[in-house]
Structure formats: structure tokens, C-alpha cells
């Protein structure tokens, strides 16, 4: 039986998952929003590698093309039309989703 795709378990997958979580935390804590967006795209790319491990090449391709590339690009265009840095004040937690 041919196995055209790498196996889903093993230390490589665990390592990628760990890195992905680290990058995600980085992305949401970074003051520079451009960095945050790049981090988000990186999370998408890592997820796309994991999709590949989980035998989902279709999803991996779509995630890489749409989830990482295009959505990252659209984010960056939005940044260009707004501001790039989070302010000091915005660092403090807020509860704006209240009733």
C-alpha cells in the first residue's frame, strides 16, 4: 500500500502544534498589528501543514491559498487604511461586548 502522505502522529506533528500555539499567542499579544497579521497567517500555514498530515490535501491547499494568503493580504490592506500600532490604552483589557 502506498502512503503518499506523511504520518499524522510523531514528534514532527507535536512540534508543529506547539509552534502553532506559540505563534498564535504571539499574534494576539503583539502591539504591532502588522506582526499580528503575519502571525495569524503563520498560524494558518501551520494549520495547513497539519491538514496535510491529517490526509486532507484539498483542505491544505485551500487553507494556504485562501486562509493564509488572501485573508492575510486583505488584513494588510485594511491596516494600510487604518493604523498599524495598538495604543497603550488598548493594551488594557476591556469588556465591550456587554449588554
Amino acid at each position: 500500500m502506498i502512503h503518499p502522505y506523511p504520518s499524522a502522529s510523531g514528534w514532527v506533528a507535536d512540534f508543529i502544534i506547539a509552534v502553532m500555539i506559540g505563534v498564535a499567542i504571539f499574534a494576539v499579544e503583539w502591539r504591532d498589528l502588522l506582526g499580528a497579521v503575519v502571525g495569524m497567517a503563520a498560524v494558518s500555514l501551520f494549520a495547513s501543514i497539519l491538514f496535510y498530515f491529517l490526509q486532507a490535501p484539498d483542505v491544505a491547499m485551500t487553507e494556504a491559498a485562501i486562509g493564509a494568503a488572501l485573508s492575510g493580504a486583505v488584513f494588510i490592506f485594511a491596516l494600510k487604511r487604518t493604523v498599524r500600532y495598538e495604543t497603550e490604552e488598548e493594551e488594557k483589557p476591556g469588556w465591550w461586548l456587554r449588554w
Binding site: M1, I2, H3, P4, Y5, A8, S9, A13, D14, I17, M20, I21, A24, I25, A27, V28, L33, A36, V37, G39, M40, V43, S44, A47, L50, F51, L54, Q55, A56, P57, D58, V59, T62, E63, I66, G67, L70, S71, V74, F75, F77, A78, L79, R81, T82, V83, E86, T87, E89, E90, K92, P93, G94, W95, W96, L97
Partner: protein
Amino acid sequence: MISAYYFGSIALIMIGLYTVLVKKNLLKILVGLSIMETGVNLLLISIGYISGRSAPILSEGVGPNQAVDPIPQALVLTAIVIGVATTAMALSVAILLYKKYGTLNIEEIRRLRG
């Protein structure tokens, strides 16, 4: 004990949710939502995975009994596209908000709106 993939996707969902709850910068919140969506997609795909089987493309060497579950993959394809559609809409609303109020701080916007 749950698998590493489940752990990773739940972690992404939690990180995203935390961002949405706590952050005030709109673009940051949207980054959080995006990460949450990625986590949900990863969760769906991990649920469909079956150990030792290959991708559901039935070429030579892969019979119907040697493939993983194709349904979650089809669902995630849909979910990814829906996610990017929501993101694009949200970003254009964010641009609109910035044009009106000159800030992306959502509490500030709420205060300015009165």
C-alpha cells in the same frame, strides 16, 4: 488523555476567544476571530482522521477502505470560504469605523457614539 491535534485546536479556539473578550483594538479582535476559525477547522479535520489511512482520493493503491472520512474535509472547505467572507466584510466595516471615528479602539468608539 486527548490527542495533540485536539489539544492544539482547543488551544487555538481558546486563544481566539480570549482575544475577542479582552482586547479593545478592532483589528486585534478580528485576528482573534480568524484564529478561532482556524482552530475550529482543525478540530473538524482531526475528528475525521482515521489512523493509518490515506487521503480520500481513490487512485491506485488507495481503495475505499483505506481512506479517511471525506465529509469533514468537505465541510471545512466550505467553512474556510465562509470564514474569509466574514473577515472581508468585517474589515470593510472596520475601515468604515476608522473613517468615521479616527480610532480602532472599540471602547473609544462606543464613548464617541454616546
